[in-house]
């Protein structure tokens, strides 16, 4: 961030926006693109002298196949590169800055221990195809993590291969399809509640299924009658997120699962919101047949600016033969346990990842589970639910609450009460930035107009929540007293609101030399 005094000067006071002063010319605010910084001849690299004969690429490979230099890449010194990325890093908000209440994203703190563990050379510098005898430590970790995730979710078997939640969904629905097909049962439809994440219908469609939307009830949860009405012998599965994206526990889940099972269908569980249930209840115990985990949500692996994640999938016994290959297995030998990769899986849906998955993320998740133990995991759920209910309790008098009842890990508000001031959810979100917060998830779930979906996570203290609540309440006052202030937010960032329509209308997706910058 910029000089603290300059920041103070920018903060809007009661009279509106104070003078920006000279902050706009702050050197760290004007960092150009790498390509614009490039100067001929600068280098940020060094190589050892070649200890074997050099070869002429054109002679060796044929002239047409070869390029001489990598035109289009910049020429920069190491200092240039370090300053560039250090400066632009300060334009990001992150969990290490503060509360990051993106609903359904579970932006909890990422313990530093996990980073240190993943950087151990035996994990970071090992190769996925090295013989199993040279990889016993990492294979043991993967084997144990599979068992821990199975225990936490109430599933019978787990694959760690999917690289993200969405790839886990794809794998899960593929297994459901393979299961039905193995029984000679051609089913064409997948039921998806209207509150679901967009990845659910997209994953079903990539499997060739027709998606049938099922409406939630007036109380926000899914009702058995609605599922029964949509159920038919054509239905392969129901995809259910529990707790739902409204932050509500699907109270009828067991009965709904029974209806789907009675019709020959399976129930897919979207594990995005598993954080609320750790040690409290297990999807496998309430009728879920297959589910994915988002290790970057529930198990604290960093979100990395949008990945890498990790999306292991757990299944009940009848789906185990269909799990992606290979799986990590253990056998007893005279010298103790030995771990190996099992590729002999004739009914498997096949491979989803070039290797075994995002192992670096799996190491972090393992370290997290190991640090917390059974009591700590349950404590996560309890405090996450406590924090979400506290925020709701402190805001329900000033914001519209579409489904005002006990919530789990997140609560959903809307902008309905702000409409008379012509202040929208987008304005509230942008104004929160001025108060030093990342906004909540907005305009999702789609069934709530102007939704503000707040997931504080267990990482926040009472003082931290009170500060956030104060900001949210202040914005309500500002909306009434000075709506233009809110509509013009953010005021304290390097850039004001960005023109997203322009970006989409005439897409500029790369830098080209000589263009006006």
């Amino acid at each position: 961030m910029s000089d603290p005094n300059e920041r103070t000067n920018q903060l809007p006071g009661a009279a509106g926006i104070a003078a920006v002063g000279n902050a706009a010319t702050h050197v760290a605010f004007e960092e150009p693109l790498l390509f614009e910084r490039s100067r001929p001849g600068r280098v940020g690299w060094s190589l050892p002298a070649l200890d074997v004969p050099a070869v002429d690429p054109a002679f060796h490979l044929g002239g047409e196949a070869v390029r001489e230099t990598c035109d289009g890449l910049p020429e920069l010194s190491e200092v240039d590169v370090v300053r560039h990325f250090t400066r632009i890093s300060t334009w990001n908000y992150s969990v290490d800055h503060g509360l990051y209440p993106l609903g359904s994203c579970t932006m909890k703190y990422n313990p530093k221990l996990n980073e240190a563990a993943a950087r151990l050379p035996g994990f970071a510098l090992s190769h996925p195809l090295q013989p199993a005898a040279l990889a016993q430590g990492v294979l043991q970790l993967l084997f144990e993590l599979e068992r821990q995730l199975a225990e936490i979710s109430g599933m019978d078997a787990v694959t760690l291969q999917p690289a993200a939640g969405s790839q886990g969904e794809l794998a899960g629905v593929m297994m459901i399809r393979a299961y039905h097909e193995s029984r000679g049962d051609k089913r064409m439809k997948v039921l998806v509640p209207d509150s679901a994440h967009g990845t659910n219908p997209a994953s079903a469609a990539m499997n060739g299924y027709e998606v049938v939307s099922v409406p939630s009830g007036a109380d926000g949860v899914l009702h058995p009658e609605a599922v029964a009405a949509a159920m038919s012998p054509e239905v392969a599965c129901l995809m259910l997120t529990n707790p739902s994206t409204l932050g509500l526990f699907e109270t009828h889940v067991a009965e709904i699962a029974k209806i789907v099972h009675a019709g020959g269908g399976l129930v897919y569980g979207d594990g995005a919101n598993l954080n609320a249930l750790l040690g409290v209840a297990r999807p496998g115990d309430f009728g879920i047949d297959v589910m994915h985990f988002n290790l970057h949500k529930t198990f604290s692996t960093p979100h990395g600016g949008g990945g890498p994640g990790a999306g292991p999938v757990g299944v009940k016994g009848m789906l185990e033969p269909f799990l992606p290959a290979p799986l990590v297995r253990r056998r007893s030998t005279p010298d103790g346990d030995a771990y190996f990769l099992d590729d002999e899986r004739p009914l498997s849906i096949g491979r989803l990842h070039g290797n075994l998955g995002n192992v670096g993320m799996l190491v972090r998740a393992f370290a997290y589970i190991r640090s917390l133990g059974p009591d700590g995991l349950r404590r996560c759920a309890e405090l996450a639910v406590l924090n979400a209910n506290y925020v709701l309790a402190r805001l329900r008098d000033v914001y519209h609450v579409p489904y005002d009842r006990r919530v789990m890990h997140e609560c959903v508000l809307s902008d309905a009460k702000l409409a008379p001031h012509h202040v929208s959810t987008m304005d509230v979100a942008k104004r929160l930035i001025d108060y030093g917060y990342h906004p909540p998830t907005i305009y999702f779930p789609l069934i709530v107009a102007g939704a503000l979906m707040i997931e504080p996570t267990e990482s926040e203290s009472l003082e931290g929540l009170d500060q956030f609540v104060a900001a949210m309440r202040a914005i309500v006052r500002e909306a009434a007293e000075d709506p233009a202030l809110v509509r013009g937010a953010p005021h304290t960032t390097r850039l004001s609101r960005l023109d997203e329509t322009r970006a989409a209308r005439k897409p500029v997706l790369r830098w080209t030399p000589g263009r006006d910058t």
């Binding site: 690299w45 190589l47 074997v52 334009w91 990842h353 070039g354 290797n355 970006a503």
Partner: protein, 435 residues
């Protein structure tokens, strides 16, 4: 806090979870451990794995041991980058967004194409998504694959199952390069997926493949499992490729037992609307200052749901950051210099093998840094690797599960980490099977 909520216990917060569905016992996972204990335990596990600093390393096959400049860990270790999420709020995510824009620009420069996305999970899924994209563009369903990494082929098969795509394999000829590609391409072919350098090492003829594809109205997808090869090989887009995808792990990303790595995907502008994955675009703010946003999201699942181009929801943001820093450090000259060093090491390895009695080079086609060596009659890959291991060397990949037709053979890779001395020791160990 409980008072504010109006309940008298934490337990009461879970009243919506029916009693019969609650676990009612502690989870059966190991008890909590301190930071010291966890690091000790994980350190012991890590110590049971061979790695690129414990052994001389000649195993590649899609995951490559390269040097990682120190600046990358220092910068990618900044929490502003790694503890943020997808840049949904551009005003407080410009660091991530500008990096994606820089990455997209670099991928276009290296591939010779006009648009690149914000990355895919890995090279295998990028290749599968490229084939699905070609199916949407051409409305055809047959995929002809050549030289493709067997794991990529497996992932492709998995992804094609739902949409009903079929795979046809073109085989390699005497010099190791794909032969008779044109004989496989017909009016049902959506695309040719050509890996170059091929899984077994040979650099393929991209221009000929493009002509074979174009003659039937199919697209050419060039898949690259070693992005560093682009430091010396001409951009496939300049040779007629319509889509270029692959794996950029070599750009500053540790092998990490196979992940997380970094898939990349680039295409021609006319296919932009069918390109899957995140895209970052340039725009201006309310004051006319340049800034970046995620754009064209109407292709994506959170808007388009079941009609989306893919279900992919994130990218590999942190890996993309590492690769962008890597390419910024190496730059225009450095990437070419590093690639030429890899080329020279493999050429030396090849020459040493050629001079060693018992060892043979089955393929004459030029390679980048990886090649097949066949072992003496009566020797086995397992024994050869064991001899190398005795000398502190991880000697390559046993090709028996992948190319049994070659007999006892290894796929060996020499990067800039290989020294003349370690190459000599490797070849000596492999050659000791001749008797």
């Amino acid at each position: 806090m409980l008072d504010a909520i109006g309940v008298d216990s934490l337990e009461a917060l879970f009243e919506d979870v029916p009693r019969g569905l609650r676990l009612g016992r502690p989870l059966d996972v190991p008890p909590a451990a301190s930071e010291l204990e966890v690091m000790r335990e994980l350190g012991a596990m890590a110590a049971r794995n061979a790695h690129a600093e414990s052994h001389a390393w000649f195993l590649g096959a899609g995951t490559y041991a390269h040097f990682v400049p120190s600046a990358i860990d220092a910068l990618a270790g900044r929490a502003e980058f790694y503890t943020s999420y997808t840049p949904y709020q551009p005003e407080i995510s410009q660091g991530t967004l500008q990096t994606i824009f820089e990455w997209q620009t670099m991928v276009c420069a290296l591939t010779g194409l006009e648009v690149a996305n914000a990355s895919m999970y890995d090279g295998a899924s990028a290749t599968a998504e490229a084939a699905l994209m070609a199916m949407r563009v051409t409305k055809r369903s047959k995929i002809v694959v050549a030289g493709l990494h067997p794991h990529y082929r497996d992932v492709l098969r998995t992804y094609l199952d739902g949409p009903g795509g079929t795979i046809e394999h073109a085989s390699y000829g005497a010099d190791g390069r794909t032969r008779d590609l044109a004989g496989h391409v017909d009016g049902d072919t959506a695309c040719v997926v050509l890996q170059s350098p091929a899984f077994l090492g040979p650099i393929e003829d991209v221009r000929a493949a493009a002509e074979a594809a174009r003659a039937q109205g199919a697209l050419l997808v060039v898949s690259i499992s070693e992005a560093l090869s682009l430091g010396v090989l001409r951009a496939p887009g300049e040779l007629g490729a319509d889509v270029v995808c692959g794996e950029a792990q070599s750009f500053g990303i540790p092998m990490g037992f196979g992940g997380p790595h970094l898939g990349f995907l680039a295409a021609r502008e006319k296919h932009l609307r069918q390109l899957p994955g995140r895209l970052c675009g340039e725009t201006v703010d309310a004051n006319g200052k340049r800034g970046f946003v995620l754009t064209l999201s109407t292709r994506e699942q959170h808007i388009r749901r079941e009609r989306a181009t893919s279900n992919i929801c994130t990218n590999q943001g942190l890996m993309l950051l590492r690769a962008t820093i890597f390419l910024a450090l190496l730059g225009r000259e450095g990437l070419a210099a590093l690639a030429r060093q890899n080329l020279a090491k493999a050429a030396y390895l090849r020459e040493r093998i050629a001079r060693t009695p018992g060892l043979a080079l089955p393929f004459a086609a030029p390679v980048f840094h990886e090649l097949v060596v066949t072992l003496a009659p009566g020797d086995s890959a397992e024994r050869a690797l064991a001899r190398a291991l005795d000398d502190g060397i991880v000697g390559g990949l046993d090709l028996a599960p992948y190319a049994p037709e070659l007999g006892p053979a290894l796929l060996v890779c020499a990067t800039e980490l290989a020294t003349r001395e370690s190459i000599d020791r490797l070849v000596a160990a492999l050659g000791r099977g001749a008797s």
